[in-house]
Symmetry: D2
Subunit: 291 residues, 4 copies
């Protein structure tokens, strides 16, 4: 099976690598072409233009945000360049408005489109343990499944309409950011009572909070080291919350917890922590409390 | 080992039962004496007065709130009635102010006091799978450990000062209530996008939120049945957040997520849901969003 | 002095009327042309195209939102159609991003641009009592001042960069929405203590809250009648808060009060109150509290 | 008319002074007796015990908080010491629970009790321009009115039940704290756009926010000087919000704006600003935004 892969960043790189290692015939493209080199060394072919990726059996896009995706699609008429058989699987987190629009544009052009955003950070991507939420035509999902099965531990089909997968992804990230901010605040509160953050964090992540949403962020809070290159950059969390609140407000759904957390992210960014791991919220919470 | 157990409610009942079943010599007391009957049938002795429980090797109290504990302690001079060897283990969730005061009152009287609040609901209590956070003199914790080992899956010692255990418990409950409210809001948001709550909840609790804080509440949200007698009553969650915010504010620690969640609990109580399981927050979120 | 006026809505209509009544030579245009009829009857000339308005001494635009403004500007090359002498005064509330972009586009074309958003509702517009916050080149503001002086009670110059006026307007509206939501919550709280909303509202608006931000909304809360056609539509308040939060977040400024209020607006819209006056927040607050 | 006045603090001192200056026969008492000296110099008599104040026609108490009031009442059996004719007018801000309890204790003893909390800071107290919200038996309010008329600009009777006056006072203070925090956030937001705080504050307090709630705090924000001894100490604002939230939650009334503001007050106190004027929230907002 031939796979085109566009967007070789912190997530795209390990995802594409897993596909190459699994023996797929992978063609990669990235705006900054040098990022493709390690994948070429691993066996990929580097395309001169995104359109070369579009004729594969499965075209995967993993671009940074709505604007980057839109730019690539429009500049290179990527939808027009797709083969009749190609399934476009967009694995990036995009807005629900973009999700709806993309589904329409593909449908108008008679092309297959699947939204398949992932749950997990670069380290899980490297381990092929992502959870993939996939929505789109059932046969298109089936065509992509062999590839998706090498990228993630599990594929969760959730219906025909691609936007649903994006809504699920965004909603999940609101929960994640709220969880990390709550943990940060609770850590500051216990620290003010003389409890070592590491002791508190061990108790909670060994008991009722023993799941990746907490386990993935507690160690950095304990070590007070937020520079993990495999982490989830705080400013990307802010971007996701913005997309989620926009999606929620479009349907008049109040999300007071997310709105509260969003302002804490702004505070962290004002302090210069936007490019650190999301767990740096622990420092914002401690600074606020002067502990 | 002789154990006195005061407070036979939704939590105290299964905890005491596990001690009886483990072969301890257990004397029980409850203000409404008839609640002791099942335990007497299981082998416990029923005290005529709380003071009779106070001469055991370990005196466990598991009363509803600070006021109930204070009333029993004062009306019956319970601290005065303790034997020299007795260790008082208070397993209820109390305020940090009460925790500090109780430690002082026991110390003044030359009696041993351990704070050992538990993480877990009545179903975990019945299964002896609670997590117990214990603080107090190390030898007192050791004396109580055989009993605690039959009540919980794990005992987490966290220092000499009893108040620390209470601070940890309250902080943990702020995280729990925030987690459930976040899950409720995310469920409403995805529902507004046409996603079945059960589908969304399965994905998240099978992936990055696969821990008791979510798994314990998602099924009720899916079934929209919030009358689980083994659940965590929403109004008790509100009480815990009030205690946590008071403890936080005493140290000038801001907790914006908990403060936001607290107002949602008020809204749920205004709607008549205070005696339902905490998961009923899903209904409040859906009602607000009209989904 | 010749004035072109584009955008004859709830605000634009009384503003243009005041200019006509003051004797200015006013040419009006609106996408739905029939809305111009009362102004024509009062003495205005109706343009066939927006470009006809662009050659006046002062071109005032008062369009509903960024998209409407952008559409008119681009479809009709309005900036290109401006005379060398024309000053474009944009009195609508737009995003700070649009404000910056418009200033650049006018500057590139060698045309004068002033941002002059207004504080006040349609009733104040009719009474020519708006407060006008104006930013742009000082001579351009001076050229427009005779017109602005007939629209508002006071012009507040605030510097060369148009975006500043928009930032001030958006910040003011965050305060306004927060004020009305706070008043709504306080009214619900006192109502729960048996106090008639009208009694409470009279006390506060006769003492420390005796200013338009409260006086403009308290009577509707007392009468529980939110259909004032001269009012400030709740959904426009939500739009303004969205613009303000976007502007704030662009500079990493946390605005927790506005973020909290925004979710209450979503709740009101979910209840079907988006087209009512902002004061309908009193009903949302009472419903939440069941009073 | 004889007046007893207990509690000579930042508010009580100017209030008592105005009564002395008006020619009333005033007896004063304060736990720290030396605070009474300026009033004695002005013509008051200093009591040796609070009970000496209790036989006057009107007994006014203006103590710091519920605990201080309760201590004086109990230690000196103040209610028992009241003459049959005496009307006790409690002008301090107390909890609604205390308000209800005090009404009952006076009623049981056959004594007259009026709650008459005030709106305004020490500077308004000195100018006799306070707004007084009075609740209690109509004849008792009438008996006190000559004195109240010298303390405030206006007396607002609001019914028989004293607790109503306290609920109104607390609700008003939630609005005040929210207003000041909103103004602080808006000032930070505009400062991030290059606008001088003084320019922004002048515009808003000259237009839609031209009332004491804003005018009383904007000058300090402009000057960045928060040490006004006539100001409203931030930690007292926090105390009032705590009382208000407790009163609201007792009736299951959600107050999300107040809850949000409360956490900002904690942040300000953590920064060491608890004893500064409430307007110091501007600094907290600017620090958060790094402007």
């Amino acid at each position: 099976m031939r796979i085109g892969f566009i967007g070789i960043g912190a997530m795209g790189n390990p995802m594409a690598k897993n596909l190459i290692d699994a023996g797929f015939d992978v063609t990669v493209w990235n705006r900054s072409g040098e990022k493709c080199q390690p994948l070429v060394a691993a066996g990929a072919r580097q395309a001169d233009s995104p359109a070369e990726c579009a004729t594969a059996d499965v075209l995967i896009t993993m671009l940074a945000d709505d604007a980057a995706l839109d730019a690539v699609l429009r500049e290179h008429d990527l939808i027009g360049a797709m083969a009749a058989k190609t399934v476009h699987v967009n694995m990036a987190t995009v807005s629900t408005a973009t999700a709806v629009e993309l589904a329409q544009r593909h449908a108008s052009a008679g092309k297959a489109y699947v939204a398949a955003p992932v749950l997990g950070r670069p380290d899980l991507a490297a381990a092929a343990k992502l959870n993939i939420v996939a929505a789109g035509p059932a046969d298109a999902i089936e065509q992509a499944r062999p590839a998706l099965g090498r990228i993630g531990a599990k594929v969760w089909p959730c219906g025909d309409e691609p936007v649903r997968a994006n809504a699920i992804k965004l909603a999940t990230n609101t929960m994640l950011v709220s969880a990390v901010e709550s943990m940060a605040e609770a850590t500051a509160m216990t620290a003010a009572h003389g409890i070592e953050p590491g002791d508190f964090l061990e108790i909670i992540t060994s008991s009722i909070f023993s799941c990746p949403a907490y386990l993935g962020y507690a160690p950095a809070m304990e070590k007070r080291d937020y520079d993990n290159p495999q982490g989830f950059k705080l400013r990307l969390g802010a971007k996701d919350i913005d997309l989620a609140l926009t999606a929620a407000h479009a349907g008049n759904v109040p999300m007071p917890m997310s709105a509260t957390a969003r302002e804490r992210l702004a505070e962290a960014m004002a302090a210069g922590d936007g490019d650190k791991d999301l767990s740096v919220l622990a420092e914002t919470a401690r600074r606020r409390a002067n502990v």
